[in-house]
């Protein structure tokens, strides 16, 4: 790691730690931003590095959300009575119970989706291209429809997550969730950066570029694809668990398995920033979140129209994303050796 990078990382860390105190009104938005970056970065492991364009990571996100809230409630109170209307008013978590439940819930929310990803991955990661994309789209929607029919987790009327206990003043809730999501963001980033510097990333890239050849070279592609998906599922589950607590209310199709919003957002953010890069999803998520919040605030009601247009425009005109555009413009910065004569020749051909 060279000196410039170190300064950059320390700068971001300091900004991240100071942000809730500098911008106290934006704590919730900053927490959502952290979650979005986690989702975009983990999507990038599949979509960018591995070439498997999934709409199904939303499955792990929603699963994590439901599991975390269920464990948090179920550890101390009967879950069925809680999810019946008004249950959250009958039972009250003490602070110790709330934090214990949250910790336990996050562990479950991370581990179970990882196992699920391993099992499902074995079944569907053999599909290629658009079959995989549509299959994962179906999985996400099916999960939403089915969880909307299960009584014990609230069925169609939703699931109210435990309210934050009355400790540490008015600001405590926002700060707690902000630092939790920031911690997950840092963990995700470190993990992904560590992965990207190993042979594992090269194998994923080989799968993306030509899976049959990678197999012929003796790589057990299935194993690596499943491991890649399990890593994504782990962090998506964590992100979902935190988001559930942050939003305070879980609905099957509008919050948890929201393929129409969150499921597409993570794809869009990664593509906007530039898929297949470490920083692309981070930048893409930041730009996207700022744009989205601006639009949601000033043009309420038209946000889905804007979203549809945005998807079409991004996909048609910026399929390589911001990082791809920068790479084309300043290839030296990305460690690509460019011959000056070569570049001139290219310009002339154009």
């Amino acid at each position: 790691m060279n000196k410039n990078n170190l300064i950059l990382y320390i700068g971001i860390l300091i900004f991240g730690l100071a942000a809730p105190f500098v911008f106290p009104a934006f704590k919730v938005q900053l927490s959502i931003l952290c979650i979005l970056i986690v989702l975009a970065t983990t999507w990038n492991i599949q979509g960018g590095e591995m070439g498997y364009n999934t709409f199904g990571n939303i499955l792990f996100y929603g699963l994590g959300m439901y599991l975390c809230a269920s464990v948090q409630v179920g550890m101390f109170f009967p879950l069925a009575e809680w999810t019946e209307s008004g249950g959250e008013k009958t039972f009250v978590h003490t602070p110790a119970q709330f934090f214990q439940g949250m910790a336990m819930g996050l562990v479950v929310a991370a581990v179970v989706p990882t196992i699920v990803a391993g099992l499902i991955g074995y079944a569907i990661l053999g599909l290629r291209g658009h079959y995989f994309a549509i299959c994962t789209l179906g999985l996400g929607v099916a999960a939403g429809e089915i969880s909307g029919g299960i009584e014990i987790i609230g069925a169609g009327q939703g699931f109210t997550t435990p309210p934050f206990p009355n400790v540490g003043g008015l600001e405590a809730r926002g700060e707690f969730f902000y630092f939790l999501s920031f911690l997950v963001l840092i963990l995700t980033f470190i993990a992904v950066k560590a992965i990207y510097s190993t042979r594992f990333k090269l194998i994923l890239n080989a799968i993306r570029d030509n899976e049959d050849k990678a197999e012929a070279m003796g790589i057990e592609t299935m194993k690596y694809k499943i491991i890649g998906w399990m890593i994504s599922a782990f962090f998506c589950g964590l992100a979902g668990g935190i988001m559930g607590g942050l939003v305070g209310y879980i609905d099957s199709t509008d919050v948890a398995f929201d393929g129409r919003e969150m499921g597409v957002f993570m794809v869009l953010m990664a593509i906007l920033g530039g898929k297949g890069t470490l920083w692309g999803p981070v930048i893409g998520a930041t730009i996207f979140h700022v744009f989205k919040e601006g639009f949601w605030t000033f043009f309420l009601g038209w946000q889905y129209v804007a979203l549809g247009v945005l998807i079409v425009v991004i996909v048609i005109y910026f399929p390589e994303g911001l990082m791809g555009w920068l790479r084309e413009k300043y290839p030296e910065r990305f460690g690509e050796v460019v011959d000056e004569a070569d570049r001139k020749a290219q310009v002339e051909i154009k």
Partner: protein, 297 residues
């Protein structure tokens, strides 16, 4: 979950007949999807939303006092031009690109249509009442609405017309040639750009017919598009491209499956079961294909 339905043969028969009449409609939508998939290599996620839009055209005719059955004439004409417009604005930029790009782009169109329809027509579940009455069969044990029989009949008529058109007309020949080999067709003087536009238009028109029929027989709602897309995708991958009897058979099979899922699992799991069936079919297909690959080893 209860399997009582199998102990009453009349209810079983009712479910089967309902499913078959419904499946014919699915097959019509799926045929449009197979057409554009085969010719342009594009999977249109907005397929279902085109269906719903066609349904709203018929619904509005009903509101203004025209019998909604005329919608099967008017809706395809309007939808044809909507399809051409979508092609000119978006699809022609993604035809030759990566398949995922076209999936995402049409996903964007789908979201856009969904919301625009929500603004324009409201978020209520609506249906156009055709006033056709019902037919009683087998001592009044099986009840079939005439509108369902009408819609199945019209779907079959449109499908047959389309098949004849594809076989005999000049444009139909050009479409089939482009599906076989776009480059060779271009060399031999087929204007592939025009063929693509016409294909997308025909697909949208088929969706319009199906939508008008759905608004007569069932209900429509702005957000109900995606299940139709998934159904038609499923039918196409089961039947294969360009296999019309296969499309019809698997469409009816899906319809019957849905009716039984409705009875056995309950209505709230109906859509979920469709999506799960898609996943199961794809997984089955993957294991079948991987066994084939092992023979090669």
């Amino acid at each position: 979950m209860d399997f009582l339905v199998f102990q009453y043969p009349m209810i079983t028969l009712q479910a089967c007949l309902d499913g078959i009449l419904l499946g014919v409609l699915f097959a019509l939508i799926a045929y449009g999807m197979a057409l554009q998939w085969g010719v342009m290599n594009i999977i249109n996620i907005a397929q279902g939303d085109l269906v719903i839009l066609g349904g709203y055209i018929a619904y509005f005719m009903y509101l203004y006092g025209i019998h909604p059955a005329w919608g099967v004439i008017v809706a395809p004409v309007i939808m044809y031009f909507v399809g051409i417009a979508i092609y000119k604005l978006v699809i022609n930029k993604v035809v030759d690109r990566d398949l995922f790009i076209s999936i995402l782009a049409t996903f964007g169109i789908s979201i856009l249509f969904m919301q625009l329809m929500n603004f324009a027509f409201g978020a209520d579940v609506v249906l156009a009442n055709s006033g056709y009455g019902t037919t009683m069969l087998f001592d009044n044990n099986v009840v079939l609405p005439n509108s369902k029989i009408f819609s199945a009949f019209i779907s079959i008529v449109f499908a047959i017309c389309l098949v004849i058109y594809m076989k005999k007309s000049k444009l139909g020949r050009a479409i089939r040639a482009t599906a076989q080999n776009a480059r060779a067709a271009k060399i031999l003087g087929v204007d592939t750009e025009k063929v693509y536009a016409a294909t997308f238009g025909i697909n949208a028109a088929l969706c319009g017919v199906a939508g008008a029929l759905i608004s007569i027989t069932f209900t429509i709602h702005p957000y109900m598009g995606l299940p139709y897309t998934i159904r038609s995708f499923m039918i196409v991958i089961v039947a294969g491209l360009g296999n019309l009897p296969g499309v019809a058979m698997s469409g009816m099979g899906l319809g019957v499956f849905e009716e039984f899922a409705d009875y056995i699992l309950g209505t709230e799991f109906r859509i979920g079961s469709v999506f799960l069936l898609l996943v199961l079919i794809l997984v089955y297909r993957r294991f079948k294909l991987s066994r084939k690959r092992e023979y090669l080893k």
